[in-house]
């Protein structure tokens, strides 16, 4: 954090405070803010705001109607309270639902036209919005072999997408990769057909709200028998204060296609909490395969539990076609509160769903996360590997549903759910729900809870590592199976993140 090194201590400011801020900033590397002129919709949410968002995005009438219906529904719903989460009531009328940089008023026609301040923001985050061989999101990429892969990036800043790279190259392959607002205008037939078909408007409180007010997000369509020529990624940045980010992602993998999609997210550190409620829908047709990897690194709040992102996310994949396959991999290190259950509907015969998760909570962070594997088709398979790590005063809950329907004959699930505790003020909880409604299917569940072992710590320290290095190494080992499921570039970033998010957890 170069900025803070130059920080002058004002008279009257306690040295201690400065030190505290410095150490915090060192912990969460993405806590800086971009100073940029913004335009906001008025605070709060009501039909006028919904219409305004739709209008800002230049949407057709059907979309506006869709949103308004969702809003009417949302008004009748109550916020769910079943999760093991404890946070002050959210005042949904005390937020901005739309914030966009003034310079984005005219949508830039190409990356060259994008406000340099925005480009610089992503550059600083390690996501240069240039069409070159880059390793998205990887620091120290220069140490890596030169055969960097191409990764296309859609960059979302507060409520809008500021640009998408490699669009023309992808177009040649028939792949559509653009912001969802663009897709609504350019590919309405696809959006109409698929939007809300996996996560219906009525799904849950946060998804319903998202359906009403989502402002942007990414859209992916992979045509039949096409292997997407590069990895696709979306990088979400919340910058504005008191602003919720509601993004919507829609991925369609047509018959026999393949895509690997990465998602990254960060936000400035502030001492007021901020809301993030996303919906991701994935449609996987016959013989298609989608890999969806997330490194979630929203600001987690400070070490006293102040601030941070409240992250309420609905992610679901519908394996519609026979032999379709989806793999969710998530590394959840950020957010003050995480409520997230990426799920798989295994509808097609012999379809497969996998869920690999690392959830790390430190200080006052809380995570209630897991997955749902809904087996509808015959011979379907699912695999769940969840690694929860808690430190400080954090609470970490794995909540998972495995459901075998009567027609899901000969289906299999394997669940492995391990928790690791660092210190004795944190908690880990495992809440499995299992329903088997046919007698040819099998569900296996294994769960362990352990503490970071003193012997292992001493062994590492005797070899010269300090306590934090030792914990990071042991935790990375504990989470190895999941880290291995990530694309290589992400795996490196995730390993470093594990170390960073556990800083201050020992000693």
């Amino acid at each position: 954090m170069a900025g803070l090194d130059e920080l002058n201590v004002k008279e009257g400011v306690e040295e201690e405070t400065v030190e505290a801020v410095k150490s915090l900033a060192g912990t969460y590397k993405y806590g800086w803010e971009t100073e940029i002129e913004m335009e906001y919709a008025p605070k709060g949410v009501n039909p006028d705001i919904v219409r305004l968002i739709s209008e800002k995005n230049d949407e057709p009438e059907w979309m506006t109607e869709w949103r308004l219906e969702a809003f009417a529904r949302w008004e009748k719903l109550d916020e769910p309270s079943w999760a093991l989460l404890n946070y002050p009531e959210i005042d949904f009328q005390d937020q901005y639902y739309y914030a966009r940089p003034k310079s984005m008023e005219e949508k830039p026609k190409s990356l060259d036209e994008v406000d340099p301040k925005l480009l610089a923001t992503y550059e600083k985050l390690g996501i240069p919005l240039k069409e070159q061989m880059i390793l998205a999101g990887v620091e120290g990429a220069e140490d890596m072999p030169a055969e960097g892969r191409k990764v296309a990036v859609d960059a979302v800043f507060d409520s809008v997408s500021v640009g998408t790279t490699f669009q023309s190259e992808l177009k040649k392959a028939g792949v559509i990769f653009c912001s969802i607002s663009e897709a609504i205008k350019e590919h309405p037939e696809l959006v109409k057909k698929y939007l809300g078909s996996v996560v219906p408007v009525s799904d849950n409180y946060y998804a319903t709200l998202n359906s009403a007010v989502f402002s942007d997000g990414s859209f992916v369509y992979i045509p039949p028998n096409t292997r997407c020529p590069m990895e696709l990624s979306t990088y979400f940045r919340i910058n504005a204060e008191n602003t919720g980010q509601f993004e919507r992602t829609l991925i369609i993998a047509d018959k026999g296609s393949y895509v690997s999609y990465l998602e990254g997210c960060t936000a400035p550190q502030r001492d007021t909490a901020q809301l993030h409620a996303a919906v991701v829908e994935i449609i996987v047709e016959e013989d298609a395969e989608v890999k969806y990897s997330t490194v979630q690194n929203w600001f987690p709040g400070d070490e006293n539990g102040k601030g941070g992102i409240y992250n309420f996310v609905t992610k679901r994949a519908d394996c519609r076609g026979d032999r379709s396959k989806v793999m969710w991999t998530q590394v959840e290190t950020g957010s003050a509160v995480t409520w997230k259950y990426p799920s798989c509907i295994l509808r097609g015969a012999e379809s497969q769903g996998e869920f690999y998760s690392i959830a790390i909570t430190n200080n006052y962070q809380q995570a209630d996360t897991g997955t749902k594997m809904v087996h509808l088709g015959r011979d379907t398979k699912s695999r769940i590997v969840s690694k929860g790590i808690s430190a400080g005063k954090a609470q970490n809950t794995y909540r998972g549903l495995v459901s075998m329907h009567p027609k899901a004959k000969n289906s299999r699930n394997y669940t492995q759910c391990d928790s690791l505790l660092i210190g004795d003020k944190c908690g880990a909880h495992t809440v499995p729900y299992i329903e088997v409604k046919n007698n040819s299917s099998r569900v296996e569940h294994e769960a362990t809870t352990s503490k970071v072992d003193e012997e292992q710590m001493f062994y590492c320290r005797q070899r010269g590592m300090d306590e934090e290095e030792a914990v990071a190494l042991i935790v990375n080992g504990f989470a190895k199976e999941v880290l291995q499921a990530l694309p290589m570039e992400f795996a490196m970033e995730a390993q470093q993140l594990v170390a960073i998010s556990l800083e201050g957890s020992v000693g």
Binding site: R461, R463, G464, D466, E469, G477, K480
Partner: protein, 252 residues
């Protein structure tokens, strides 16, 4: 090099005195062996010197090259050049042996204000050392000590020692569980590291090891104290007669 002066140690949790006035000096470049009956406090001494939790020093001190050892954190002692080959090496699931060692080597270098070793140099270095100890590439990739046989674990300790190049090496029963060939490999590994600037404290129950690693001095530890010291012939005496005579001599 290593100086231990009237060291008294009790368990932190209970009122049990384990070391009752250990005096020991290992000069630079020398190899000292410690023998002694089970439960006499040999491992405890090695743990206290390397800074493991759970012990309380009630009297005495220990220095490494004049630096007060007992005030330092375990990792500071390691960076100062103290190495312990564990009697029971610890398993760390999911952490590759090579990753572990590279992290350790670079942590020590960083602590000493030296530059980190590049990945390429490290690889060259570890391959050479592993070859000497007949440790194959597969074992370097496997998680630290997980599923290693007893003898493999011990060889792995010596590999770590060779990589970290410490100046004070404590070996706690590194020979236990080794077959004849492995014993030779390990001894050769230790002998290759013998150097004017490096000292060894070798804890063992058997003369066999000392045939290969010729000690300068042999100490006998009993009931938390060094009760007798002598030349290599002392180890032979123990081998033939056990501890009874020596202990009787002291009691008298």
């Amino acid at each position: 090099m290593l100086k231990i002066n009237n060291l008294h140690v009790k368990l932190e949790e209970e009122d049990k005195q384990i070391l009752k006035g250990v005096d020991l000096e290992v000069p630079a470049g020398k190899v000292h062996a410690i023998m002694g009956p089970n439960g006499s406090g040999k491992s405890t001494l090695s743990y206290v010197l390397s800074g493991r939790d759970g012990y309380e020093v009630t009297e005495g001190d220990a220095t490494l090259d004049g630096e007060e050892l007992l005030d330092m954190e375990p990792e500071e002692r390691a960076a100062a050049g103290l190495f312990l080959a564990f009697q029971y090496p610890v398993e760390i699931p999911g952490v590759g042996n090579m990753t572990f060692l590279r992290t350790a080597v670079n942590a020590q270098r960083k602590a000493r204000g030296e530059e980190e070793m590049s990945a390429a140099d490290f690889l060259k270095f570890i391959r050479a050392k592993a070859k000497d100890l007949k440790i194959d590439a597969d074992m370097l990739k496997r998680p630290v000590n997980v599923g290693f046989s007893g003898g493999e674990k011990k060889r792995n300790e010596i590999l770590q020692m060779a990589m970290l190049e410490p100046k004070m090496c404590i070996l706690d029963e590194t020979d236990s569980g080794l077959d004849v060939d492995a014993m030779k490999l390990v001894s050769e590994g230790v002998n290759a590291l013998r150097d004017e600037g490096r000292s060894f404290l070798v804890i063992t129950h058997y003369q066999r090891l000392l045939d290969h690693i010729k000690p300068d001095v042999v100490h006998i530890m009993a009931a938390g104290r060094i009760v007798k010291s002598g030349g290599p012939e002392l180890a032979l005496e123990v081998e033939h007669n056990g501890y009874a005579d020596i202990l009787a001599e002291i009691d008298a």
